[in-house]
């Protein structure tokens, strides 16, 4: 960018953002799924109120339990009339989550590039309230594929409920937040929603994935290895 003559063209850049949410059966407790749904509703309002986000970012939602599924394909969430129903299921397969995330990121990035967008490094918010129920070797292998892919997303993790801080520290590439003892899981989910909103708006305004600021209320931050 260090040129002396005027820069005249700049292709539109798109920041793909994914929320990867644990929808294991424990999310049925304590109105956790409702809190998640409220967080999504709040995110849609915030994007609506910031047209620059609609212009610069796309948001997708992946849910996982014993399997993983695409709750909301990458889109301008401001225009989504009916937000997806988040239905919890049994088990907690991180392997399934990482596998679907890897495939989804790859195909979304290909599609955006084919549509002539410059694609920024994807940003992932990974939220879990439990330990993986699949074998460690299996999810570690899927994580390795995700983290060595041609397009490696920047991953921010949130450990709530029974999730292990040590596990989610391994998953994170950017930052890892752990709900403090005594923080109700549904309150923690609401806080995560607020962080996601701030990050999405800041990233869209600044044109680069940004999770600025201190840990959300009720969370501690772990240093990454």
């Amino acid at each position: 960018m260090h040129r002396t003559d005027a820069i005249t063209t700049e292709h539109a850049a798109i920041l793909p953002i994914y929320l990867v949410c644990d929808l294991s059966s424990s999310m049925r407790e304590d109105r956790r799924v409702e809190a998640l749904r409220d967080a999504l509703t709040g995110l849609r309002d915030a994007v609506w109120a910031n047209p620059v986000v609609s212009d610069c970012a796309r948001i997708g939602v992946i849910g996982f339990a014993g399997r993983a599924w695409l709750c909301l394909p990458l889109c301008d969430i401001a225009t989504v009339g009916d937000l997806p129903v988040l239905e919890p299921d049994g088990l907690t397969s991180y392997a399934a989550a990482f596998r679907l995330l890897h495939r989804t990121v790859r195909s979304d990035v290909e599609q955006l590039a084919a549509d002539q967008y410059r694609v920024l490094r994807p940003l992932v918010f990974f939220v879990s309230d439990g330990e993986p129920t699949d074998r460690t070797a299996e999810w570690v292998a899927e994580l390795a594929i995700l983290r060595t892919a041609a397009v490696r997303p920047e991953i921010i993790t949130f450990a709530i409920g029974e999730a292990s801080a040590a596990t989610l520290r391994q998953v994170a590439t950017a930052r890892c937040f752990v709900a403090s003892v005594g923080t109700a899981v549904r309150d923690a989910i609401a806080e995560i929603g607020a962080v996601v909103i701030r990050s999405v708006v800041a990233s869209s305004t600044s044109g680069q994935a940004a999770v600025a600021g201190p840990p959300p209320d009720g969370f501690d931050e772990l240093d990454l290895l």
Binding site: E10, A12, S54, V80, R198
Partner: protein, 289 residues
Amino acid sequence: MTQPLAIDGAGLRAGAELGRGGQGRVVEVLGGAGRPAGEPLVAKWYLPSVDLDAAALTRLVAWRRSLADADRSTVDDIAAWPRAVLLRHGRAAGVLLPRVPPRFSIPVRLPSGSAGQVLSELQFLIAGPDLLTRRGIPDLDRPVRLRVLARFAAAVAVLHNHGVVLGDLSVKNVLWSVAGGEPAVYLLDCDALRLTGTNPAVRQPNSPGWDDPAFPGTQNQQSDRYKVALTVLRVLARDFHTRDPERARAALGREFLPLLRAGLSGRPDVRPAASAWREPLSTLSEEGM
């Protein structure tokens, strides 16, 4: 009684949190000892990680107080200029700012169904018709956009004449209004402005996409001129990313397109002053009526 430049934040009665960002959080001030009376205020508290230059912040506060009444009133109309430094345990930790006047908010109905207010940020002026239509937000016609831009250029010119450097400009820190007849513009994040020849109180990196290629690492009045031209271009082209002056050809015409080209030039010395935009933009807005 002379108002102190710095006041103890502990004496303030805090209301609701109005916002939170990478630098800190902003809360409503309901009352409290030592605050300047007569206007609604907010307190911005910086995160401990923010490298705050207390002397520079005090300088900004003192500078506004040193203005003649008429000049101060002009500055207050166009900028959320710091009113006082806020102390926590005796150290500068925040700043008292005027609350954004109500005319710079748009009432909206959010997708969740709740009614709300959003600040009328520059992003709503740049957003294309499709982005606005989807949100049920009325679009402005070109003459009105040109008048808002004229006000913006005039506001920057006022600050430049006073030796102020804006520095960072983003789609969220310029507000505009066409409520009640004459368009108006209001600049936020003024705690990050600086007086020429001095350092800013808070380092504000360039918002990428709004950087001046001629000054990648610094900000000065010449980079402000570039950003004024970029704002004119993007508001007229309705494009968050473009740097191509040709995109504003239809709006500016043959007569004024060269001004935009010069404003976006990689050679800072040929860029027109912010004040040079005012007449052309006003003239064009009248022609279009």
